[in-house]
């Protein structure tokens, strides 16, 4: 069996919690003993513009933390779909937030998971947790980490100050898993 390897680019607008779910994923991967890198796009373009981060997961030493042709994409807005869809590896996974992405994916050689993330988020209480819905769907599809480790990461990142947000995020995340498993 070849050693485990996965990479994913998460992209959307600044303020959608793009970097946040990337960090949760990286944290959970670390908990499971694998190597991981998380790298953001940084600088002024992140303020109100597009934000993206790349997470690389491997059993081996990680070489490049930046990825030309990712195996997976989590896409939260139209500009990100246009930017990253052509770069997705053949046979790769495209998780797309259909609540906000009005463009249709063009690729036919990849697996597409459509998630109405904002609608679900509003249903569970707050449209700010659409990112957690997306993360849930991605993890259900890839089985890259176990659910518990994401929740542990969430608890840690929210800390005492934002403890009250845990339940909402958890529910959104679990809804995402359900969609991913469908």
């Amino acid at each position: 069996m070849s050693p485990f390897y996965e990479d994913v680019i998460i992209a959307g607008f600044g303020g959608q919690g793009i970097l946040f779910i990337g960090k949760l994923l990286a944290y959970a991967v670390m908990k499971e003993g694998r190597n991981v890198t998380w790298i953001p796009s940084y600088g002024p373009e992140m303020r109100g513009g597009t934000a993206n981060c790349t997470v690389v997961v491997s059993d081996e030493e990680i070489g490049s933390p930046v990825i030309t042709n990712p195996r997976s994409l989590i896409i939260m807005n139209n500009p990100s779909l246009e930017a990253f869809e052509p770069r997705l590896k053949t046979g790769g996974l495209l998780v797309v937030n259909t609540s906000l992405v009005t463009l249709q994916p063009k690729r036919t050689d990849v697996n597409i998971v459509k998630v109405p993330a904002n609608e679900i988020a509003i249903e569970v209480g707050n449209d700010k947790v659409a990112n957690m819905v997306m993360l849930g769907a991605y993890i259900a599809k890839t089985k890259i980490v176990v659910k518990e480790n994401i929740l542990e990461a969430l608890k840690k990142v929210l800390g005492k100050e934002k403890e009250e947000l845990f339940e909402l995020n958890k529910i959104a995340f679990e809804k995402g898993i359900e969609i991913g498993n469908m």
Binding site: G43, I62, G63, T68
Partner: protein, 354 residues
Amino acid sequence: MGEKVLISGNEAIAEAAVQAGCRFFFGYPITPQNKIPEYMSKRLPQVGGCFVQAESEIAAIYMVFGAAGAGARVMTSSSSPGISLKMEGISYIAGAELPCVIVNVMRGGPGLGGILPSQSDYFQATKGGGHGDYRLLVLAPSTVQEAVDLIMDAFDLADKYRNPVMVLADGYIGQMMEPVEFKKSPPPELPPKNWAITGAKGRPRNLIKTLYLNPVELEKHNLKLQQKYLEMAKNEVRVENYMTEDAEIIIAAYGTTARITKTAIKILREKGINAGLVRPITLFPFPYSTFKEIAEKVDNILVVEMNMGQMLEDVKIGVCGRAEIHFYGRTGGMVPSYDEIAVQAEKIVKEEAI
């Protein structure tokens, strides 16, 4: 094995410094290294240390001069344009033989340049930068873990040689998060800082200076400095040889570029091209002898940098005409991808075959 924490390069650099006994930090904000001073402003008071946001990079480096001269473990960090401003003070620190650690999280230049990763300060770091005949000991981490390890070593090396040590990172290493373990190794035996400014009680007064109006004395001082740099070259060279044993082509790269190259090597090997990497970890002293040896075994060496060919010159010195040297560089914040590197290497190998 200790517990791993997920942490960004900038924060890891700051925490590693604290764990290495750094209690003083003087800096000035500049992207993309702001997390370092921010972290220090919070962390240092917790351990009885002190953070000062200086009025300029120039003032910051002289605060480092003052604190280093007072015998403390002290660090400053900045990014390319800010490091240029610090260069005056770095020359004085080197001349006065004060130990300190300077972090450069490089961004694109010249001038204000950009804020994205770059390696275009290689010359500045390794060949002097400020005025006078001096050298910094320059360490170039390739991962966040290595940044932590090298920062910890940097303080010991600075004290050992009474010399400023520069940790040369780039924007990617600063921004990237990786699981990191803070491994505290037992402190090596270091010379006492009996030269430090502590108040002349029960001893003759101490004087920290760089002015030698008598040329005989100044030459003597310079020869002493050179002797120290030779010692560093003898004792401190660090280099990683990655898959070089069976290599038909060698890629030379450091820092972020080197880890991207590792992915390129994987791609090349899948295509049946045996590529290897020589990764200098110390940029000064430079691993010239590694390149001399490797040049006896391969015909082609490809140097890859995020600049227009700076380490290239040191590789040429090491190789000294024993092999063909090729160069591939991206600059201005553009980062070479592993595909690009693989294409370049493949082209060299195939042209060779014709």
